[in-house]
Symmetry: C3
Subunit: 350 residues, 3 copies
Amino acid sequence: MGYAMNAWYMAAWASEVGSGLFARRFLDIPIVLFRREDGHVVALEDRCPHRFAPLHRGRLAGGVIECAYHGLRFDVAGACVHNPAGDAIPPQAKVRAFPVHERHHIVWIWMGDADLADPASIPDLSCIPNEPGECANIGNYLHVRANYLLEIDNLMDLSHVNYLHHGTLGNDSMRGHKVKVHEEDGAIHADLWMPATTAPIYSPLFGQPCDQWTNMIWMAPSCMRLDYGAVPPGEPPVQLPEDIAVHILTPETARTTHYFYGTCGVFGPDQREFAEMIRTAQTAAFVNEDNPMIEAVDERMDGADLWSLRPAILSSDVASVRVRREIEKMIRREKAPASEEKAAAEAVVV
Amino acid sequence: MGYAMNAWYMAAWASEVGSGLFARRFLDIPIVLFRREDGHVVALEDRCPHRFAPLHRGRLAGGVIECAYHGLRFDVAGACVHNPAGDAIPPQAKVRAFPVHERHHIVWIWMGDADLADPASIPDLSCIPNEPGECANIGNYLHVRANYLLEIDNLMDLSHVNYLHHGTLGNDSMRGHKVKVHEEDGAIHADLWMPATTAPIYSPLFGQPCDQWTNMIWMAPSCMRLDYGAVPPGEPPVQLPEDIAVHILTPETARTTHYFYGTCGVFGPDQREFAEMIRTAQTAAFVNEDNPMIEAVDERMDGADLWSLRPAILSSDVASVRVRREIEKMIRREKAPASEEKAAAEAVVV
Amino acid sequence: MGYAMNAWYMAAWASEVGSGLFARRFLDIPIVLFRREDGHVVALEDRCPHRFAPLHRGRLAGGVIECAYHGLRFDVAGACVHNPAGDAIPPQAKVRAFPVHERHHIVWIWMGDADLADPASIPDLSCIPNEPGECANIGNYLHVRANYLLEIDNLMDLSHVNYLHHGTLGNDSMRGHKVKVHEEDGAIHADLWMPATTAPIYSPLFGQPCDQWTNMIWMAPSCMRLDYGAVPPGEPPVQLPEDIAVHILTPETARTTHYFYGTCGVFGPDQREFAEMIRTAQTAAFVNEDNPMIEAVDERMDGADLWSLRPAILSSDVASVRVRREIEKMIRREKAPASEEKAAAEAVVV
């Protein structure tokens, strides 16, 4: 069904993009990323317009990429600034440049109409501290062989924690609680309040009775923030900033996804072991439990649209369905701006 | 061209299905098999109707599968018996259950219209002894990357033995004998009588002159029984029950096949070595000679229908062509029951 | 867009084809090659017309192939000469035989209309010496995962040498020289004259000032001859026969190519080390520099026609574009002989 193009997607962690040429595919389009000498990140289509060589195989000097095949050079705007054959530069000799913006240790990219690229619409991930400390648990990345919407489904319905992650992230006491969903400023909140339960392994109260919560917030197009907490039963549920995690997805292709994740605690050198423990536990759950399941679901669906398969929808699906509806609305709006209202009215209602 | 759906296919050897969840794909449909507490085998579609997780990744307790992803539970009839979200069970929350029947140490499955599933039409493999002994040579399985009809072609034309298996299962003296084909009660018999020939390696008369025979019987949709024997020249050709082999094929996908095989001798502990020798020789011939050839043919045909390639048909093809015609007739009958006669009349005649 | 069928393609080096059965795919058609007892090379379709087994798995005796599956036999003309079932030979029992011709240590094959196969149109590779010596640098082969036209583009625009092979085959001084293109007897010449430059590593003048040249000649459909030379500045540019290389491409499939190459020097036993050095340097450049780039281009183009991607064309592309136009003309001529003039007139002009 395509992608929402006019939106900010996470391209990379800021730390991934240095002075070299960094290649990654987003929304089926190959992109090369690099930093200008002033530190600003540049994103160009990773395909020379001459003979279609990947530009990331080239050389970067003075903010100019030289194609490794025949030597055409392109500036940070994608304009050809050197024709090695010595003639005038032909009009086709240019590559598309994509708006990028660096914020919250993240490089954001805009794959759609550049005129609409307003940094104000970058998802609010100010939960990531400006100075996360030298042992921070951000910068994590997984490559997933599944459509990105299946990852969003996974994250927006945390009831799966108590089955798929039973014994690791979840336990029996956490089952059966009702999610409350609401929208706020375009973000969709899925709040799960689990009073009088047993704290799971990642909580300092592990094994003890507690009131706990997982509040997941989706921000268009595919960013999620998870506010977690556990307090002794009856105490006020104060949200600690360090108990916030981020899960950010960017489609690579229709059936592969970039998955970026991390937690928002500030960790100094003395907390290296603790930060590493969290990273390891989180990654183990994703790699051993979530990813095999999500990839198996993608294989079972075999590229079919979710609705065409007529899924049984449960009340625990409310948030993920609303997110899918929002994304479908974004895509429809881009495809036929004028007839948006009509298309929305005709959309299949769950 | 599709499959005959209203037929009993071999799903597994009885010994393959135990108290755990056993996944296998038949006719392009993923299935999970397991035994109820009373020992009966159950076959369900291996895809949760909620978010399409493979059910075989789940947990089985008290004859109920719990999906590993979000905890929906299904009974042996495929009905959802637990909605973890705590609400009423939505009507889509059910999985298809498939008729299964256990007979002759084999689990049979019916992939078509359940109302038509009559165990009386299970292929007669009573040649497999009820008590095959603890060293029996049944239970063998190979996965083949080829359409199942190519395996049937292979088995219904045993003239290939004297070329493809020359020096192993066949020899020069066995060439050029005419197959006699007849139909009996819907089964197609391909009888090859080879008088005054030299016995091949798997016969107790190996290297000696003999009268020998290989009589292959096809039973719909894809079971074959091979009656073999060799006697000193001129002696009556008595069929020994232990010289019978079974070859059973089930399509996995259009271009992959489950191949089950074995022999019908009863082997006690003292015959372990002999039974193992037969198994090894048989498997070696299939793995080293038949499978590479059949897979190479499948690759050369590249998914094309046999007839569309206009094969040169020899008299040795009579049996395999008749079997293909029978299977085509079954498929036509299912697709357009009323116009069967007409369709048959229009079918390409070889 | 298909292939030019009525043309001589290189099937193999003469040394590759012996008394055994040699399988290779050309223009999407599987072929089996072998030598008759009189030494002549035979090319047959590598697919038995009976049950589509690859014939190269069979046995060759007395110039007759016996199919390994059911024993049909075919002579060098592709006629079935033995029906193992003992009946008349059915009319479909024949395989296509392809004209082949051995010349210049090369086996040439004609994949199109056999009536048009005139050895006079075999590309002139008389530059390959009749007696290249026992250490000759011919007989080299690479398998490339890219459309063959991308290899031709690569070879007909040697400006890439100074970028892709910078530091190995090329250097800065060799950049920016204008190629001169002309046609002669149907061959397209791309002459690059580089006066007052520095000799590259493969020249005896390595590192010294020189006048040098690379003159590439394309002969239909996909043979190239490279005349190279370097002389001290101002001296007459005498072409040494040993400084000639051949690059010959044959499509295997739409996206894979057989790449044959070599040089034309005569090397005796005392020059084994030198010949081996040239072979190693050449192969290293192709394997480490050209092939990864050409395969990456093929992947970026993903099967699209070059023109549909609207490439930026530089003056250095003149020769490769002319060659592509010639090949397109050959294909059009074969598809619609009568309307050739019209089609040519309508062709997209670069």
